[in-house]
Symmetry: D2
Subunit: 106 residues, 4 copies
């Protein structure tokens, strides 16, 4: 059973440090790109990467994504499900199955 | 803020299309950077952005993040909380409060 | 008068270190994204940035771009001019002048 | 490898369209990240990419880099050479030769 709520943990962390003032949607979008590149850096010269480092960098991307979702009043799970429905129409199973042209799926 | 609970919906979507074959950790890391840049594009020339477009692009980043978490066997909620604990030590409240030097917090 | 050739300096630098083996087009493309994010980090929380830091990060992006151009046998100046011609057709002066919708110019 | 010599062509292109007003250093830094991700997209699911598409996307990254150099009053060739000198000290030949740990060279 879950004893914690991730959203509340992040919100408390930010509030304690008085950092919400920096978290405009634009700054958070920049931050997501910056953290995504740190994650990519784990794979810069090699397809293999340190699992520990990948977990930490992925966590940073996710944290800024949750902060942006909160900031724009979006439910992260809901927007994922909504977008899946859009993509489902764009890439119906019978056309998309196993094709490498899927590269613009999202 | 919510925690993530849509892993199964995403997994079903990918399985129907037989796309897991493309989802190496390295390819997913590239995909996260690519989608993060599409999100950033909403703010390329302006701090204001279309809320609808931001929601969709954020959903794409999140979807690839959850796919990578699944692929490396990590619980997305858990790695966020674990990384917050690390950052908490690095940026104790009394030193970090309201400082703009927080830019390397994550 | 120029006493140096930038391309030769970079090539010598790489050769001395035997690093060409890492420089596949894919790895260089990842590296360009990673360095671009370090440049963006100069502006993460503020529109103002340290000029020295911006110069250094911009130099890193440019260096990897030149390495990729070399690797794929492209003349960097020529591909810029060629692409300007394409964009010129897409955005003729009379339609594009001063419009903020220019965001997808490139 | 060539050095850069097309600053005037780019400047004329921008001036005709009256686009300099959008080209703050921050916006150009965002643009470089966005275009770098479009270049990366050529390699999203595969180490092979269309040479034509790579040339066009690389040209876009370079164009924004030269615009930023111009905007901050930096000579693109000079900052590359200056940064190489810094990296040369950080990664002396005898320590860096052929090592995969070169990933943070720039």
């Amino acid at each position: 059973m879950k004893e914690f709520s991730v959203g509340e943990e992040i919100a408390a962390f930010v509030a304690e440090r008085d950092w919400a003032q920096f978290h405009t949607p634009e700054n958070l979008a920049k931050s997501i790109s910056i953290e995504a590149a740190e994650l990519l850096e784990c794979f810069q010269w090699d397809a293999e990467a340190s699992p520990e480092r990948v977990r930490e960098e992925l966590a940073d991307v996710l944290t800024y994504c949750l902060l942006l979702a909160e900031r724009i009043g979006a439910d992260p799970n809901q927007i994922i499900v909504d977008k899946l429905a859009v993509t489902r129409e764009k890439y119906p199973v019978d056309k998309a199955r196993g094709r490498s042209t899927k590269y613009d799926a999202f």
